[in-house]
Every structure is written in C-alpha cells, then in structure tokens.
Symmetry: C2
Subunit: 395 residues, 2 copies
C-alpha cells in the first residue's frame, strides 16, 4: 500500500488547479490578438472572463476599494495573473501566455482572501467549489451539446449501511434506455480525482455528451456510467481527510457491497464480470487499480486516466489477470510525461510508455493513449473517455 | 397582459435575496445564545457561516487586507450585516436578529465588489449563483434526507426547435418507477421564480425529498415532477432579459409544444388533462396562471405559490374553469400577507384570502395555505409543495 500512497500523492499534487500549462516560447513571440469573447462557462449575462482565439484569458473583476486582486491561473501554472485597477473600480489582467485547451479551475485572491470570480460558474475541485474557465479546444466537437438523441444523467440516493448515510451517485443512461425495456446494459464505474466529487465527470468532463455523440455516430456500444463520491476518508461527515490517512477499504465497501448491488437492482444491467468496467482519473485511477485488481471476479475492463500504470509486474502479481481482464486502458496528458512528472516526487521515475509496451508485448489486451498538449486536467480525461469508450464491452 | 405584468413585477421585487425576515422586537429582548454550529449548506470542512439555536447567523471571512466586508443578509432584510476585522485578518459579524426558518440567498460586498462567501455552497437566484444559508426549521423533517426509498432526479436534454437549442429539464421519478413497468404516472410541471433556474426546486426546494417522504408515509399518490427553465425572454442566449419585456409566448411554446410531448414520449405518463398539473413559485406562479388558464384542455390542477391568486372573476372569465379544473391551490408566506405586500407596488392591494374564500364559496375545488412565519422565500414553497402534493391527482 505504501507505493500506492506515494503515487497517489504525486497525482494529488499534480491535480492542483494552477496546473494550466502554456508554451512560454510561443507566448513571448506572439502578439495578443484582440478577439476576446466571454468564456462559455460564464454565468448568464456576464462578459468576463474572456478568452481569445490564441487561448489567452482576460479577467475583469469589480472591487473599487480593493488594494490587490490576483488570479491563481497564470503562465505555466506559476505565479498567477496580477490584475490592475482602472478608474472605474474594475481590475483587469490578461494571462502572460495562452493556456492549454480545455477546462481549468481557478480562484481569485482579493486583499489576501480567497474568493471565486463572480463572472463564472463554480465546479467542485480541490475540496471546494472553484471558478472554472474553458479554453475552446480544436476538438471540442466530440463533447459539444448537439442536436442528437441525449441520454440522461440521473441522480440516485442509495442506502449505505457501512457509512450510515444515504449517498449520492449519478447514473448516465444512454438514449433509448427507457424504450428498450427488454435490453440490459453493461456498466462503467467512473471515478473523479482527489478533491472533486460525483459531479465532476458530468460538469467538467461532459461524460454524458461524449457518450451521446459517440452513440449518435455509432462508435460505441451503449452502456451505463455510474459516478459516485470516492473520497470516503472523511475526518467527519463532509470534511475530507488528508491523503496520508487514505484507506481504500471504506470506499471499496461502499462501491462493491452497496452501490453495485443497488445499481444492478434498480437498472437493467448485465450484472456479470464481463459487462462491468471500472476507471478513474488521477486518484480515481489509483482507486481503480487498488479495487479492481483485487476483485477481478467483478471487473473485466480497467481504465487508469492520469492515475498510474499497469506494469508487467502488476499483471504477474495479480492472479487471473491474463484470463479475466479484457482491456487495460492507460492514458496521460502529454505534459504529464514531460520531465518525469508521472513519477512520485523524490521517488523513482515511472515511464508509463514502457509499462504499456511491456504488457502489450506480453499479449495483454491493452491500449495506451496520450492526449496531445494537455496536462493533469479535464481535457486529458475527456479525450481519454472518448478514446476508451469504444474499446469497452466488445465481447 | 398589463395586469399580469404589474403583479409579476411585484413578485420580482419580493424575491430579492435580502428578503429574509426577522422579528425585531424579539431580537432586541433576547440575548444571543452561544451555540453556533456550521450551516448545513457549508462547503465540505468549512466552519463558517454558523447558525445558532435562535436563528442568528454568524459570518466569518478571511480577507486580511480588505477595508470593508459586508453581508447582504441582515435584520428585516434591510441594511445587511457589517463584519468587523480581527487581528488574524478575519472578518466576523452576527446578524442583529434571528432570521426566518429555512433557506436564504446572500452575498458579500468586499471592498465594493460583489462576491460569494467561500464558506457556503452556491444556489442560482437573482440571475447569479448566490451564497446560501439554511436556518434549521422546526418542521425540517418533511424535507430531510432519510432512510426511505428515494426517487431520482433525472437531467434530460430535449430538443427545442422554437429556440434552436437543446434545453435542460429535471424530472423527478418516484421510488419504484423503474420497477413498475406497466404503471403510468401523472405529471406536475413545477416552475421556479424570477432569476432562478431549473435547479432551484431540487437544490433549494428539496422537491425530491419532500415527495420521497410523503410517499414513504403513504400520504400522496406517486407522480412525476418536471422542472425546466422558465425565463425564456433572454436578450441573447444565456442572458436573461428584464421583466418589462417579458412575453409568456416563448416559454409557453417550449412547455406545451416541446417539453410536454417529449416527457409524454420518454416517460410512462398518463398523458391526459386530468393527470397533468402546473404550478410555480413567484414568477412561476404567474407563468402558471397565464399558461394553464388558457390551456385547460391540458391541465386539471393549478398551483400558485406566492405567485398571484385566482379570483372569482378569473374563474368566470375563463371558459371551462368550473368543469375542467380539479384543484386551484394558492399559497403565501404569512409575512407576504402583512402590510398588503402581496399587491403590486403603487397598485391596488390584493387580499388573497378574500379571493380564496370567494372561489371556495362558489364551489370551486380549491385550497388556500399560509406558511407561518415565512416570507417570499423557499421555506414557504417547500411547505406549499408539501401541502399541495397530497391534493393532486386524487380522481
């Protein structure tokens, strides 16, 4: 368990909201194009923050009597962006360089206090509701809200005797689920990262739209996605504990003994091993590895999205891996693979590519995907889900 | 339509977040009891804001270099609460008196800018995501999350040719809906107020838990609740227009021509007039009156929750009212009926009680409910739904 902790700690550090990456060299060479438009995540009617066609972000916040306003989001995730005051009491600033495509968390520091940008919507990350901004991606079409049949995202509340609570999960049901009364469906259990919750894969990840669009194009088999809260190491109800004290057992009990049976009882699932997958991003990937590898009678498909790797040693040390696992999917953002950043801090560097090649060479059905130009952020995970979904439940 | 506009404008003014009421006399006489606890709406791990057993709220915000921090929520909804700075850089303040039971919107003013309290979750009201606080109510049990069978809150995305968008709605399905494959259900279309959206009835109103608990107690017939966005007078996509330009037609088209047929096609509904209800709070009540009274071939049950009244003149002016309407439900918070506040500003005072008595005396099946000690806020509407639900679909 100690190795898992170290690797998980690395993932935690990497999920910090200031992780947005830029290309400093390109930035220094390029003039800022003045075609800024309101971010698509802005609250209704709000004009700021804005994003330009290069991926620069311009912030504007009203705080007439403030003495200092900063934004946590900046060049290379370092330092943030300092806003300057204008005569009308507004504070404005533009990032020093373009941000990576996709979704970024951020917050404001106003006179030494941490607040959200009133211009944008909030998204749960870093164990708080944070501001969010979206840099339009060249491939945004695959998670766009389009005129295709849409599945549902259903909030369920399931009893959890082990925690003495009624717990929340969201269940994506594909278009037509309600009509095909005799059809049963495979299920993907899909976990968020550290500091996030069961809302992340829909709100930040657009998991439902990714599936809707894949299904409309005939590119994947329809299946259910179940998303629940994976940080069960609360110090007290509602207060997440630190990672040092993380123990997989409470979450495993909720997932395997409570949620899976509830879903199989209340949805038309194919309730066997070969029609059940588990995947997760960052900490959710580590949870997947810890739970699924010890429960291969339950899961046939395993996905680690910026959440560790499966080595040939893992395969050999896991009874039944070769027979039972139909797919091992591992992915990262390309920026995570720069400079050995996929290894735990101070620990040995891990090369996910080498592990992926080794298990492939050993005949393990597997896929390895690298999201170009993105880091430990949701654009990597949107793309990873988009790549992984068509590979699931093909038997 | 002009009368409807004036009444709607009154409702709009009344929905302002600073509407929380207190009892000034009692407040002046009572010492503050130091048993403050974190609000149940706080973000995970956050200790402030806190509420005491009397309903006072204590706020604490970190902003070491700020010069002024105020909270919009205060005594009688006037003036707000001014926070004072401590040596550690925190700002603390307590409301001058106890607030009414239930949910209140609020925000901070920090150095002249409007921000949310980082301690609490956000709720969509006043066309922005606002901070929320919950004063525990003596009757909170009816909307508590309990160990009873729970229905689902399902996000659907339905095509809307009239607006050229894919629109969102939430559908509450009662426990057992998925099992009773041959059972069909009545439907309540339930609208939010001005500046709110389709999330309000679940997030602020706990509509799903109210129904779960009523059903567990055998006190209501199971039915679906459909909640969608009723502010269709956007100036441009995502930017709500003012009320002066409000036109019911766009929303009526979405509701009657697009959403109702979608729900009837995708859920097992009883798709006839006598199994369809429409109700709404504040502006949603006005929308209900404008739409349902002109479409009595579609709706048999009508609910106005702090959203106008049905007079005998309305009944007599509406062809078919006596034959087709199975229930007219009207409710208010008791504080709304103090000082003629239910009338439009500058216009004639309306006495909802007199209207309710007049239609009852004329033999119109109707119910009139007043929520004790609450104003134009969600505690009134939670109670109103709890009162109304058992009266629906009894034929």
């Amino acid at each position: 368990m100690k190795i898992a902790y170290a690797a998980m700690a690395a993932a935690m550090l990497a999920v910090h909201p200031a992780q947005a990456q830029t290309a400093p060299t390109a930035a220094a060479q390029t003039a800022i194009v003045e075609d800024f438009k309101p971010s698509t995540l802005n609250q209704p009617g709000q004009q700021f923050p804005q994003v330009n066609s290069q991926g620069y972000v311009r912030f504007r916040v009203m705080a007439p009597d403030a003495t200092a306003v900063k934004v946590s989001l900046g060049l290379g995730g370092r330092g943030g962006t300092t806003l300057a005051k204008a005569a009308d009491g507004s504070w404005t600033g533009t990032t020093e360089g373009p941000l990576d495509e996709g979704f970024h968390y951020y917050h404001l520091t106003i006179d030494g206090g941490t607040f959200n940008d009133p211009g944008t919507r909030n998204f749960y990350g870093s164990t708080r509701w944070e501001s969010g901004i979206e840099i339009p991606a060249h491939d945004a079409d695959f998670y766009a809200l389009k005129d295709v049949p849409h599945g549902r995202v259903e909030q369920i509340l399931f009893p959890s005797p082990s925690t003495g609570t009624q717990r929340r999960a969201f269940v994506y049901t594909p278009p037509g689920y309600e009509k095909n009364a005799s059809t049963r469906y495979p299920v993907l259990y899909l976990q968020h990262g550290w500091g996030e919750d069961e809302t992340a894969w829909s709100n930040q990840g657009h998991a439902n739209l990714i599936l809707d669009n894949l299904l409309a194009a005939g590119k994947t088999r329809p299946f259910l996605i179940v998303m629940t809260y994976g940080m069960t190491n609360d110090v007290r109800p509602g207060q997440p504990g630190g990672l040092a004290s993380f123990d997989i057992k409470p979450f495993q009990t909720v997932l395997l003994n409570e949620l899976v049976p509830y879903v199989d009882a209340h949805y038309r699932t194919l309730a066997d091993q070969k029609h059940r997958a588990m995947a997760g991003l960052s900490m959710g990937g580590f949870e997947t590895k810890l739970i699924a590898l010890k429960n291969l009678d339950r899961f046939a498909y395993i996905g680690l999205l910026s959440g560790g790797t499966i080595s040939l040693e893992d395969v050999n040390a896991t009874p039944g891996y070769r027979d039972k696992v139909k797919l091992t999917f591992v992915s990262f953002g390309s920026r995570e693979l720069e400079g050995g950043r996929s290894g735990p801090p101070g620990g040995p560097k891990v090369d996910p590519r080498a592990n992926a090649e080794a298990i492939k060479a050993a005949g393990i059905p597997s896929a390895f995907y690298v999201s170009p130009g993105t880091g430990h952020e949701f654009q990597t995970w949107r793309r990873s889900l988009h790549e992984m979904a068509p590979l699931l439940f093909r038997d």
